[in-house]
C-alpha cells in the first residue's frame, strides 16, 4: 500500500519498528513447532540437560527408530486416515445437498429450511441427549459415531450456499432447464464442476477437523483397536502413559528409560502433525479464499 509515495524519516522509523515487531511475533509463533522438530532429532540425554534448543542437540534418529517399532501408533494412524476420509466424503456430499436447494431463488420454503438449519448453530440439546441418540441408533463403539453426528456444519453449509448463490446465477440454471436438464443433472453437471474451489476449501476444513479430533473417539469408542491417532497421542503426551511401548529395554536405568520416552514424544508429535503442516502452505490460497467467501455475509 502506498508504495509509490515518499516516506518521511519518522515514517521510515515506524515501518522499521513494525517490521521488527512482526519478525519477533513470527518467531514466537514458530519456535514451539521448531523446538519439537529439533528435539525429535536430538539425543534424548543431551536434551534432558539443556532443553532450550536452537538446533538439534547431538543429531540422532533413535526416537524415530523406536517409533517405527510401535504398532499401536501406526494402527491409530490407519484408523485416523479411514475416519478422516470417510467422514470428509460424507461431509462434502451432505453439505452440497443441503446448500444447493437453499441457494436457488425459486426454492419454495427456502426461509423455513434455512431457519431450521441455522437455529442449530445457536442452540442444541447438549452432550448427553446426543450421546443417548447415538446409543439408541446403535452407533456406540463404531466409526459411524465419529462421522455421522457431525455430517453437516451449518456454518459451512451457509458458506457454500453463499458461494452457489454468487457463482451460479439463476439465468444459467434457466437456460439449462430450457435444454431439458433436471435438478439432479443440474447439480451434477453444472453446479459441481463450477464449485471446485469451495469444495476444496470444505475438504480441508472438514478434513482437518476429523484428523485432529479426539473427544468423540474418547466418548464413543471402547475397543483399543479402533482408537484414532489422537487418542493414542493423548495417552502418551498428556497422561504420560506408554502402553505396550515396544523397544524400551527392561534392563535400562529408570532415568535413562524416561529420557528415551521423552525423546519418543517429540517424534510422535512430528509424525502426527507433519502431514497437515506440510500440506497447508500449499493450500493456503484456498483457505484464504474460503474465508473471504464466508466474510461476504452469512
Amino acid at each position: 500500500m502506498l508504495l509509490n509515495i515518499k516516506r518521511t524519516p519518522g515514517e521510515k522509523l515506524a515501518d522499521a519498528i513494525l517490521l521488527v515487531l512482526a519478525i519477533l511475533i513470527t518467531i514466537v509463533i514458530l519456535y514451539p513447532l521448531l523446538f519439537v522438530l529439533f528435539a525429535s532429532f536430538s539425543d534424548p540425554r543431551q536434551l534432558w540437560d539443556k532443553p532450550l534448543l536452537l538446533y538439534p542437540a547431538g543429531f540422532n534418529l533413535d526416537s524415530y527408530a523406536k517409533l517405527f517399532e510401535n504398532s499401536e501408533i501406526w494402527r491409530g494412524y490407519g484408523n485416523t486416515l479411514l475416519y478422516a476420509l470417510t467422514g470428509t466424503a460424507i461431509n462434502i456430499g451432505m453439505t452440497v445437498l443441503g446448500a444447493y436447494p437453499l441457494s436457488r431463488k425459486r426454492f419454495y420454503g427456502k426461509r423455513l429450511f434455512t431457519m431450521l438449519f441455522a437455529f442449530t448453530m445457536f442452540f442444541g440439546g447438549g452432550l448427553i441427549p446426543l450421546y443417548l441418540v447415538n446409543k439408541q441408533l446403535g452407533l456406540l463403539n463404531t466409526m459411524w459415531a465419529l462421522v455421522l453426528p457431525g455430517a453437516i456444519s451449518a456454518y459451512n453449509m451457509i458458506i457454500m450456499r453463499t458461494y452457489f448463490q454468487t457463482r451460479i446465477p439463476d439465468e444459467l440454471e434457466e437456460s439449462a432447464y430450457v435444454d431439458g436438464c433436471n435438478d439432479f443433472q443440474m447439480l451434477y453437471r453444472i453446479v459441481l464442476p463450477l464449485s471446485m474451489p469451495i469444495i476444496a476449501v470444505m475438504i480441508l476444513f472438514y478434513g482437518v477437523g476429523h484428523w485432529n479430533s479426539y473427544f468423540d473417539a474418547m466418548i464413543y469408542l471402547t475397543d483399543r483397536e479402533k482408537f484414532p491417532l489422537q487418542l493414542i497421542l493423548r495417552e502418551i503426551l498428556v497422561q504420560n502413559d506408554f502402553k505396550e511401548m515396544a523397544g524400551i529395554s527392561v534392563g535400562a536405568e529408570y532415568a535413562d528409560q524416561m529420557m528415551v520416552k521423552e525423546g519418543l514424544k517429540y517424534a510422535i508429535v512430528v509424525i502426527s502433525a507433519l502431514p497437515l503442516l506440510l500440506l497447508y502452505p500449499m493450500l493456503s490460497r484456498f483457505f484464504e479464499k474460503g474465508i473471504m467467501v464466508g466474510a461476504i455475509k452469512g
Binding site: 511475533i25 419454495y108 429450511f113
Partner: protein
C-alpha cells in the same frame, strides 16, 4: 423470497383467500420437487442429530431410566437444577466458566485484529505473506498435540521455561500444579494457536478497503496512525462486530476438550468448568438426567447472552446476525 413469475392475465386474479394460496403452494411444491428430494438427506440429518437431542433434553426434568426410555421416565420437575444450584461447587465452576471465557474474549478478540493491522502495515509483500502463513501454522495442530507441546515447555523436570528460570538463578516450578496459573496457560496457549487463523478474516476484510481512501488521506497529511484509526479500523468494524457477537454467544462453552486435557487434581479449583463437570457427571458417572440439566442450563444462558449481545449490537452499531 422471490416473487414468482405469473402469466399476465392471472396476476390480478390471484385471490388472497386460502384455497388460492393452497393451489399456489401446491404448484410451487410440484415445481421444486427435485430440490426437495435433494435437500432430504440434510433435513433428515438435522432432525436426527440436532432436533432429536433437543427432544431428548426433557430428561433434564425427568429421572431418566434407560429401561423406560425418554418418554416413560418419571417427571421430577426442577430437582436436578436445584441440586446443581445448591451444590457447594456451583459458584466455583460458574466463576471458572465465566472467568476463563471472559479472559479469553478480552485477549482473543483484539489480538488477531492487532496482528492483521500489523501485517497490513508491512511494506514487503513477500515477507507479509510469509509471516501470515507461518502465523496460522498452529491452527492445524490438534488440541492434544497443542497441549502436549505446552507440557514440553512447562514441564517441571525438563521444560524449556524452567531451564530459563534456572539459568536466571530461580527454582524450577510445576506451573500446572499451581491453580493460579491455569487461566493464563489456557488463554495464552489459545492465543498462540488461534491468533494467525483468526487474523485471516480481518486481513481479508482489510484487503477489501479501497486504496483510494488511503491515497486521499495521505494527500490530506494524515499520519500512519490516523490512517489506521480513520480508514482501516472503520473498514473492518462490521467484521469485528459479527465475530464478537458470535464469540460472545459461546461464552459459556469454553473449549472443554482442551481444559479436560490440561486438568489435574491439583488445579481443579480453577480448571473445573460447567462443561467438564457435565462430561464427568454424565458420561463417567452416568447421571444422565443431572448432566443433561447442567448442559441445558449452560445452553440456555449461552442463547440468552447471544440474543442480548446481538440486540445491543443491532441498536448501537446497526450490524447484527439476523
Amino acid at each position: 423470497m422471490s416473487v414468482p413469475l405469473k402469466p399476465l392475465n392471472s396476476a390480478s386474479a390471484e385471490p388472497a383467500t386460502s384455497p388460492g394460496r393452497w393451489t399456489y403452494a401446491k404448484k410451487q411444491l410440484k415445481r421444486n420437487l427435485g430440490l426437495y428430494i435433494i435437500i432430504t438427506p440434510a433435513v433428515l440429518y438435522f432432525l436426527i442429530w440436532h432436533y432429536w437431542p433437543m427432544y431428548g433434553v426433557q430428561i433434564a426434568f425427568k429421572d431418566f431410566m434407560p429401561g423406560l426410555g425418554i418418554w416413560n421416565s418419571p417427571w421430577v420437575g426442577f430437582d436436578h437444577f436445584e441440586r446443581l444450584f445448591n451444590a457447594y461447587y456451583f459458584w466455583t465452576i460458574l466463576k471458572n466458566t465465566l472467568g476463563i471465557s471472559l479472559y479469553g474474549l478480552l485477549v482473543g478478540i483484539p489480538a488477531p485484529i492487532l496482528l492483521a493491522l500489523l501485517f497490513n502495515e508491512l511494506r514487503s509483500r513477500k515477507f507479509r505473506s510469509f509471516a501470515q502463513t507461518i502465523s496460522y501454522a498452529p491452527h492445524f495442530i490438534s488440541v492434544v498435540v497443542a497441549v502436549g507441546i505446552l507440557f514440553f515447555f512447562i514441564s517441571p523436570t525438563n521444560g524449556v521455561f524452567n531451564s530459563i528460570l534456572v539459568a536466571l538463578g530461580g527454582q524450577p516450578k510445576d506451573f500446572l500444579a499451581e491453580p493460579s496459573n491455569f487461566w493464563h496457560l489456557y488463554v495464552w496457549s489459545g492465543v498462540w494457536q488461534g491468533i494467525g487463523w483468526s487474523s485471516l478474516i480481518y486481513s481479508a476484510a482489510i484487503s477489501g478497503i479501497s486504496p483510494d481512501l488511503y491515497e486521499a488521506a495521505y494527500m490530506d497529511g494524515a499520519s500512519k496512525l490516523r490512517r489506521i484509526w480513520h480508514i482501516t479500523l472503520p473498514g473492518i468494524i462490521p467484521t469485528i462486530v459479527i465475530l464478537s457477537i458470535l464469540s460472545a454467544g459461546g461464552i459459556m462453552s469454553v473449549g472443554f476438550e482442551k481444559i479436560l486435557l490440561m486438568q489435574n487434581a491439583m488445579n481443579l479449583e480453577t480448571s473445573e468448568v460447567i462443561s467438564t463437570y457435565m462430561y464427568k457427571s454424565g458420561l463417567l458417572n452416568t447421571q444422565y438426567s443431572f448432566s443433561a440439566a447442567v448442559g441445558l442450563f449452560n445452553n440456555i444462558i449461552n442463547f440468552i447472552i447471544l440474543i442480548i449481545v446481538n440486540a445491543v449490537a443491532r441498536r448501537v452499531g446497526e450490524t447484527s446476525l439476523w
